[in-house]
Amino acid sequence: MTSNSNLSNMRRLVEQLKLEASVERIKVTERLVSQAAAELQQYCLQNAAKDALLVGVPTGSNPFREPRSCAVV
């Protein structure tokens, strides 16, 4: 019966919404986007030096940038 499947769909939706509403992050209402954004930024800056695609690496230490040797056969 379509009413029954509508009913179970609706029940599932309500249960899902209840679950989402109760998850930790909702209770932490003091958390601001600006704080989360600041942490993302901090991670970037802390790891920037190791990021070869960002800062480049000394010539010769990126295996893909090295010229490949050719063998004459």
């Binding site: 609706m10 509403a21 954004a37 993302l40 991670y43 070869a52 690496v57 490949r68």
Partner: protein, 364 residues
Amino acid sequence: MLASASPLIPEMATQEVQLNETLAHLKTESETLKSKLEEERAKLHDVELHQVAEKVEGLGQFVMKTRRTLKGHGNKVLCMDWCKDKRRIVSSSQDGKVIVWDAFTTNKEHAVTMPCTWVMACAYAPSGCAVACGGLDNKCSVYPLSLDKNENLAAKKKSVAMHTNYLSACSFTNSDMQILTSSGDGTCALWDVESGQLLQSFHGHAADVLCLDLAPSETGNTFVSGGCDKKANVWDMRSGQCIQSFETHESDINSVRYYPSGDAFASGSDDATCRLYDLRADREVAIYSKESIIFGVSSVDFSLSGRLLFGGYNDYTINVWDVLKGTRVSILFGHENRVSTLRVSPDGTAFCTGSWDHTLRIWA
């Protein structure tokens, strides 16, 4: 009215009335919960990422070029993955071929022909000793890689996952023992490789699931998936529950990728935008788009520090975005057809793209 009919009918009529009442009640409850969630989310949103990052130094010019071109597929390249050794790559194609390459030398090390076309998903095992792949066969199969080049890999094939529609993505978890899959059947699933047993299934998408990504191991047992229902869902692997859901894209989500710290993830969509979602703030914090970019994004990945976001697009280009400032820092040309797949190497020294032009390119 049904009063004059047989004794059963009035009972059914009352049942139907009750069902409709319960339905209406649940509908009201769900509307209330939805607006409550919206209210809570709105409280947390006071500023966007690029505003916070105003004081950060801008990025200079980038010199990124194709350093290797891998030729050998006979048709569209659909997927690729890096081996943990940072030099081997597995790729899969519309023609049913799965090839393992040494990206330094561009040599092909292994090749398997799948019994189906459109092998949309492939993944390298953490040990480097096996690859997984699947597509229109609705399965995910694991092939142990043999050191003996003459050995027929297809003979050792192990069928692991079975879906009821195409396999769109697969990934090993932190070991060779478990595989996570997503499918056109709207579900994701976690499988035991040895026994083929289904360990957990993840229901919640309302349409095909197109992509998935596992959270970096330090951040626990979660993964994110994106689908044709425009939603990106974050799942708890143990319970099977969807713990967070984001619906801001205007079209199919083709690719999702965790930010290196695990606190956020990026998505790429047919709506021509990439977006960044922060998991603790529980909302979208950045959109990467330009009026001039009108073609869909097929795949995204971050550079090692998370500062750069690479997007492969259906207009054959790669756009490189400054994640913090929201601006595009570079556009890369080279492919002669859609870019269908893109992954940064495990140590961040290069990234690889696969395309409908039958080739793969390594950029650095």
